[in-house]
Symmetry: C2
DNA sequence: AGACTTTTAAATGTCTGACAAATAAAATTT
DNA sequence: AAATTTTATTTGTCAGACATTTAAAAGTCT
């Protein structure tokens, strides 16, 4: 293995890319041990710190894990659904927070994807998932709940809805869409009245899934989308008035 | 800024987490310059290589970019849609390739999400998007096309369909779902007959979007899903027979 | 012989110090 | 005033060293 020394800098990026390619292409399989840092340094003809920087890059993407000790080293990591969820959520959250994405656009995407889960959730929802959803609705009605806690419960409700579809790949793709909305939702003040409306819509969704009515669930989700966007619009207006 | 020295190891991970939190929380804003590596080393009370490893972790996630020279340093990076796409695709691809995900499950998720785009695509599709889709259909009919090239064109067709929905957040979420299927699709041998069927379904989708018929597009997508799963099942069977 | 303890070797984690290369600002010269 | 040179700052890279962790090997005792 060699890297291009003509490229001006960033040897560690080149080495990371070379190892990443080996993993993606299947040349390195899960749980296989990479050569030791010293060996890699020899092979790529660079110093150990440079190799280490490359390995840290891969570790940041959960592509490898390292273990100390005699039989230690860097191992190709099986990307678990959990790790993938976490990456998905941070990437999605940052994407929304760092780019001028309108609330409506993000909301449209999120609810469109959730509606896509509805038919499967209606067909396959387990008692457990329904119980989780009901529990979150109950929590949302507790007095003294902060807006942040209300939002967190809202996210938990929707995650349960997504998981009820019984497709882990779908859950993975949706995790970012649902969780990344939380910072945006946190900008909204949820009055007792608006909480009531949302809880009623949540109940409509849970009822629809319980009775296996996909259409009703999708309709309730659409109504929830409209209402959420309306709340956000009200906040914007109030802010604009406050500034003027 | 300080990190917990009681934790046994992985100082670079702790430092990376601290800086990442500062970025996510908004304490560090886009294009803001981080302290120099030497300053960070002082602040966190670690050596410069350790700081560098932390920075490489963040660079791997496109959270920062570095620049050499007098006014250089590490800067908070605006996570572009393009970067987010790329991360999404690699993560999704690895997730599918490293875990025992059935073809049907991945396919179900992908087409469910694509159907979610159909109503928006039917309403908003531009002439450009339609032209892209037609061009890919034409390419798929070219004789002498390898299976890989056919798959690549298939992905391009579906990306155009997703982009036609005119919601960049939706496109971002879908990018992984569509592209990550390509390695799985590459295991299928596309005969002239099956290519014909797929192209006909693609045409049905394009026609439906052209005439703003969301329902017809969704139906065609469902048919395409069924057919794709059937093809995959045939491959499996033929393999199983070959082994016995 | 078998179980327990100690030693040892290999690997990652971290530090120090140094030099190279890039880059923009400051100083100098034309 | 413009062009050139110098300089300072910062990242990129290297070399060598020591600390720490870990499991296997060696040794010891019952």
């Amino acid at each position: 293995m060699k890297v291009d020394p003509s490229k001006p800098t960033d040897l560690s990026a080149q080495i990371a890319a070379a190892i990443r390619d080996a993993i993606v292409s299947g040349a390195l399989i899960v749980d296989e041990r990479l050569p030791s840092e010293a060996e890699l340094a020899d092979q790529f003809d660079v110093s150990r710190p440079t190799v280490r920087e490359a390995l840290k890059r891969l570790a940041a993407q959960s592509l490898i894990r390292t273990q100390r000790g005699a039989t230690g080293g860097a191992f190709v990591n099986r990307l678990s659904f959990e790790d993938a969820y976490a990456q998905q959520i941070t990437t999605s959250t940052l994407l929304l927070s760092m780019n001028a994405v309108s609330f409506d656009t993000a909301c449209e995407a999120r609810f469109a994807l959730e509606r896509a889960c509805a038919p499967f959730a209606a067909a396959r929802r387990s008692a457990d998932h329904l119980a989780s959803m009901r529990a979150e609705i109950f929590r949302q009605g507790q007095p003294g709940l902060t807006d942040e806690a209300f939002c967190a419960s809202d996210v938990a409700f929707h995650r349960a809805l997504v998981d009820a579809a019984g497709n882990p790949v779908l859950s993975y793709h949706l995790s970012g869409a649902v969780e990344a909305m939380q910072p945006l939702m946190n900008m909204i003040t949820f009055t007792a009245r608006s909480r009531g409306v949302i809880m009623a819509l949540h109940s409509r969704i849970a009822d629809a899934l319980e009775t296996h009515q996909a259409d009703a669930a999708e309709a309730a989700l659409s109504d929830l989308e409209s209402y959420t966007c309306q709340l956000a619009r009200d906040v914007m207006e109030r802010r604009a008035q406050g500034r003027d």
